[in-house]
Symmetry: D2
Subunit: 477 residues, 4 copies
């Protein structure tokens, strides 16, 4: 799958006991979280209550040039954010962290997720004269915290009250003059964890790979519904919104596609979850073949799992061109097909004269799958059996994943799996079952959300369905 | 005077009867207003109520690259802004136009000036749970308009009410879904005017030179306290805050330094005002000499006026290097003196063996003046008589001019004009009198503000003097 | 005149007694010479015989970013170059200084001018197996020097021999491992001078304004045909190609347009030469009027001269927008006319209701002149009398000035001055006479070239006239 | 191994039968060859004999922006080049393709490799008055071709004669007005192959992956010593320098490290060669362990081979951060260790509590290996056995590979393999034998060069050993 399903964000925060180059740590962490958002990024630094910030459109390495990074203030706290925005990033006010001034001081907020009652929350504040600079629901969260702060004794209480009002997905890092507060929605849709460096700084991150990047030791995940406060007094946890052990609904797609394989989320290694997905695929959709290959990057682990479970040798079938990035210029119409080949070339030796099982993490429109199957046949594969390490997308996501509209989703356009196999030119096709996705991380300490596969959501979908891109789904499988 | 006194902003708005490339017009106008602010700029476009925007740090030509400009939407209205920011432009939320969403829709605001009760206004909203993204007083104006809009029937009424609450300097262009509203504070500290293009579009601009740049014909200035609404119904004026004909207090420094000589402000040509300043200088501080020269750019006109009034020949004494811009790298300490020479070189033929009258628009710290006088002597001038086409800065400005702190101002550090002459190495020195500044535009239809020279302000200075950079002034002249 | 006649280059060299930041000095000097070429630039540094260089397309401030400039090596010598290239700068091998390796070591060459026998020279070397990286005649000069170096005892002798072979215009700075050699063609078409800094470094420059920029004191011009060597042994002059005092043919257009007014060339101040051109114009083409104005930048001085000679008051008629540069995006067709207004706006007060004499330095195609006359009439001028401070272009230049083809030159397309006046909409028109141009610098210690006005060249025109853009000239005046 | 051994270049050429967007094809091909050189790149286009070019420092995507690429001329031929330069790329004249003019017309040359008698060749031309713009040996090849062209009837003959004179490594694409000529040194040190697109264009490339990228079908390798001419008359081969079937000495390191695994070189798939290297390693250095992992990117294939041959399970041990590129800013000293972790993070699940075999393609200084072994232990590996899929570097390369100096090479600093194992903290260490490297591609149709491992070179090393960085080698294994 290429660039067709998008995560919304990655967050990071650091709380240090002394004034230091906290912006540099955030910079490293954002590099480690870059896969969660490539449209824009930002860092806000807190030096004894004085906030400064820099943000911009582009990758971390583009926004934070040597000049800009070295111009960042030292501080004792900092938060950072990488963002993927569906609307083209035209509104610079949506770039996070959101830094605001309110009656009690400064506040910076970095948010990963999507509220389902953002419109209502916004409307409430607008009716009271509130103004919004951006279109993100992050601003609605900030408004709520500020409003609740006026009615309570502490920011912590304000966050607690806010969590009673907002619905949907949110894994947030909040920075006040003196504290860093991490909080995660009671469903725990998006990951969030924290750790500690050798010199005693606490770090909060969307994924544990960012803790590794700054040399912090993983302590634990922020639990669904939990509020963790980092301050001079150490770490403090408030569990009033905690749904209970084993409860919660983390997005299955974090394991299948979004997260980095070296991250551990809610007790489960992403890499291992993918290996297991491959193993389940082998059981659910066995086929006689000569080699199992995966489509980089996220199909690789599942292919290894399929191979191990099936006994069919694992092979390296593709080379991904690592230089193709934002600056690559798509050549004119006639060269499109080559462009796929430029991005992903087949290693002929692996597939020539062989029956190939090709593992992909998902199929969205089917166009790319079709081309890749073609590449394999051109390279001499005698059979191509496609196995997908996730169930078919047939429903929208309201919790932070940007899925294509139903008219484009191949699983919504065809009745049967056989139809889809035919369309993409595969000899056979098999999707992972929803049941299997729930088992892939049996040892996980939370439950799962599989709404995009089943249409059953743990939280009520937004009332306003006028913008619902999912008109209907033809898929009967 | 080089880069030492700063204007805060320039604004522009266009109201067209049809969807067209309004962003292009704003682009041209901002080029014409670039002298009013070089730190950042932005354009917001309104296409039948849908707002889009682009802003960034840098000059118009840097922010609006070919790619960015051509990506701007077409629309029927647009506003633009160029900004000079004292705090380094680190906060991207301060870049204007400010575009916000509120309960009644979208709103874009471009503001030139400075409120004196911004802190109180902000505090009021913050106490009610309001949040501020930036540090500019523009956001306070926007909040006020939105709050008043909730209590009134129209944006026009909201603006009217807002003008009763906010104090200080503001020349604004406000864009709503269907209207463009220009309003200017009752003192009229900063200029604002409007015109019409041949194809019927109305334009509002800080200076008439921007109307010229887009091919609009000047209609008239927005009067102090006036609210002018541009809509499908044409142009409408509300004068409830108008202080009366001849009233108002436009900043004298607009004529002396900020504005472009080809602009006409409140009925007076800037070029002519400068010529007259030179004429008054000749009367107030005559001296026998061989040639009168001006320091580019704004000392040129006054030098011509001095020459005409005194009969002493006008000469071209300096060449300013037009390539020195933001990308010029200041060489190390030892080369500083040459850097002045690189920016401003003497034409030796003009001054060699002559008694020279050198006209500058102002003296701030005196360092540059001292170097320039030195350049003239090195070039062979036998005498150098400095004449300044404005009175001496001895007091802070609260209305949008960024003046250095008193400890740096040469007029605050020395008792007498003679002392200053000695410090800068001049044979004699003369400042324009405050009386003369009031006469330089006798035919102007408004009054003047000379607070930075006299300490007498038309509007109460802000209560919070903790940040007042003016500890004391030694100047007794 | 706007951007229609182009100089080819500016050169600079510095010879220091110690290892220092010579690249910084060249950087400053190139800023001062930027008006002589804006397409590309480069600096080559010599540190005890080891050469390093950096060059690129663009202005000095664009090519030499902070990072690039600070990465330049220290050295005891350096040469720099700014270039205007007619062919679009596509060939990076044409960017100067040209740095080459040959059997005797390294060599860097910066050249301003144009050879008339470049093709022959190149062909000779090519027949012997020589290869050329670029298309410039500079490479031919380098080849000649290297070839002659093999046959002689010193680089100086090689330069001397080379000067016997090459024809046309060349003002060069050559850097070898141990010496800096400045040489100028026997006609002295292009300027070249040298000076000394307080710390004993020698500098060679196209114009004296660059000496000022680095704090060097002007010593004297390099004479036509002279070779000046700077080495550990001091300064040495070889005059074997010197044509004699008062001989030589400096390009008149250096005084009229190319050079900066603060420069002194061959004993004559450029500013004074322009003043005198204005005075001659007043005598040759008197007219009754109310005000004399000049078109910035180079028409200003002549306007002042016209005013002084005629007694008609001098006025400031135009403001040039100093922010319009390479990044300015020309708006679409319909806005073209405004674009002229954006670049050059009329100060209405100066011309309204008046009979105006407008001085321009030259008229090329006439299109811009026509628009400017229109702007003046729109601003209320009752009469517009155009006076041009140079004769009419009617012939090509073979010595380094890029003149438009004859089919575009207005002076080649019409028979009489009256016709041209009619075309550009002027009430009257007068060109400076060729005789006057020869007198404008009567005290100059060299003669002049007026080939582009008269067709009479001091050096034979190139044999190959196939590329001659001058088919015919209709002008009979 | 991270960025410590460097290839010098990649070349590409296209010969089309019609004027088309050949530059676009080269652009795609250079993206596919980017791994062979990231310092600079360039494209030269030939349109019926008229040459144009663009080159610059940086990656293909940085140099060829949308604007620059679309400004490239259409043509019927084009050549391109990606370059890695050891001297920092300061000399823009070294950027290839080299485009020159000579007596017979234009010529563009792209070269991969390194001559051993470049100094002699250059000296010969310099003695005859030749000048060199760059420091590359490519210019020496161009000079030779031009000189020989004068003495022969065709460029083909000139190339043939040149090949008799130059020694060392060269895989070149030469473009004349009407022909494209590919030639490869008789040892065939560097790869070169050609293919044909569906529309009949011929393409020459350093690696077959670039043919895939432009949709060309692989035809065959250019043989060692072969000259292949592409012209209107089709493809023509001259074999006068061909050493014979099975002869030649391709660089082993092309298979081990430089080339892309999806390329096929001299009849052998790079991927398969690496698999076989892993298999040989398993036989030569067996060890009892739980998992085999490879260091990305080039250790992956060998790890798979080791696993297959040993029966020990293959695992994915590391994730490489794909966003770390040229713009990444190395943090200060204290953060260095984290920087390795940021670039390459361990998947803990794969190694925790396990005996790990870690396959790397080579060890240069040992510093990185030491850190990576540390990462594995930190992640819980109980044993770490390092296996290297190449022999130890103990000698310099004169044929285009940039190897560190002997004082830095770990294999030169220690006597035994055990010492090195201790230094990098491994439980055991095994290098691939030289014999095995010769067998890894037994079916290859050419021989190998293993000079950097054995010190025995197929071509005499350069006489000038003054710059020889290899003082001595301590390694006795």
């Amino acid at each position: 799958m290429f660039n067709s399903v998008h995560e919304e964000c990655g967050v990071f925060g650091i709380f240090s006991n002394e004034i230091s180059s906290v912006a540099n740590s955030v910079y490293l962490a954002l590099y480690a979280l870059q896969h969660r958002g490539q449209e824009s990024c930002g860092i806000a630094v807190n030096r004894d209550g004085v906030f400064s910030q820099y943000k911009g459109d582009g990758l971390v390495g583009e926004v934070f040039t040597k000049e800009k990074l070295s111009a960042m203030e030292s501080g004792n706290m900092a938060v950072g954010h990488v963002r993927y925005s569906t609307t083209g990033g035209k509104n610079i006010n949506n770039i996070q962290p959101l830094v605001i001034r309110h009656i009690k001081g400064n506040l910076a907020l970095a948010h990963n997720g999507n509220l389902t009652n953002s419109a209502e929350i916004r409307k409430g504040f607008e009716l009271a004269g509130g103004i919004f600079h951006g279109t993100s629901d992050t601003e609605a969260i900030a408004y709520s915290i500020v409003a609740n702060r006026l009615k309570t004794e502490s920011t912590l209480e304000a966050v607690e009250k806010t969590m009673s009002a907002i619905k949907g997905a949110y894994s947030c890092v909040l920075m006040t003059a003196t504290k860093m507060i991490a909080f995660r929605d009671p469903n725990g849709f998006r990951p969030l964890c924290f750790g500690k460096t050798d010199d005693g700084s606490y770090c909060v991150a969307s994924e544990s790979c960012a803790l590794d990047a700054v040399g912090a030791h993983f302590i634990r995940d922020v639990r669904p519904g939990e509020i963790v406060t980092f301050s001079e007094d150490g770490v403090d946890s408030v569990m009033t919104h905690f749904p209970g052990v084993g409860e919660g609904n983390i997005c299955v797609f974090e394991y299948i596609y979004f997260a980095r394989p070296d991250s551990v989320i809610d007790g489960v290694s992403v890499h291992s979850a993918r290996i297991r997905a491959g193993e389940f695929l082998a059981k659910e959709h066995p086929v006689d073949a000569d080699v199992v290959i995966g489509i980089p990057d996220s199909g690789i682990d599942a292919a290894l799992g399929y191979s191990q479970a099936s006994g069919i040798p694992y092979g390296i079938g593709f080379i991904k061109n690592k230089y193709i990035g934002r600056s690559f210029i798509q050549p004119q119409q006639l060269m499109r097909e080559n462009a796929v080949k430029l991005k992903l070339n087949v290693i002929k030796d692996t597939v020539k004269g062989k029956r190939v099982i090709m593992i992909d993490d998902s199929i969205v429109r089917g166009t790319t799958s079709s081309r890749i199957v073609g590449l394999l046949r051109d390279a001499g594969a005698t059979q191509v059996h496609v196995r997908v390490s996730s169930p078919a997308f047939k429903h929208p996501c309201y919790f932070g994943t940007d899925i294509d509209s139903s008219e484009n989703l191949i699983a919504c356009r065809y009745d049967t799996v056989e139809d889809i196999a035919r369309v993409i030119g595969a000899d056979s096709l098999g999707y992972l079952s929803v049941e299997a996705t729930k088992k892939i991380a049996a040892e996980a300490d939370v439950g799962f959300c599989t709404g995009c596969f089943t249409g059953e959501y743990p939280v009520e979908a937004p009332a306003d369905t006028s913008k619902n891109k999912f008109d209907q789904c033809m898929g009967r499988f």
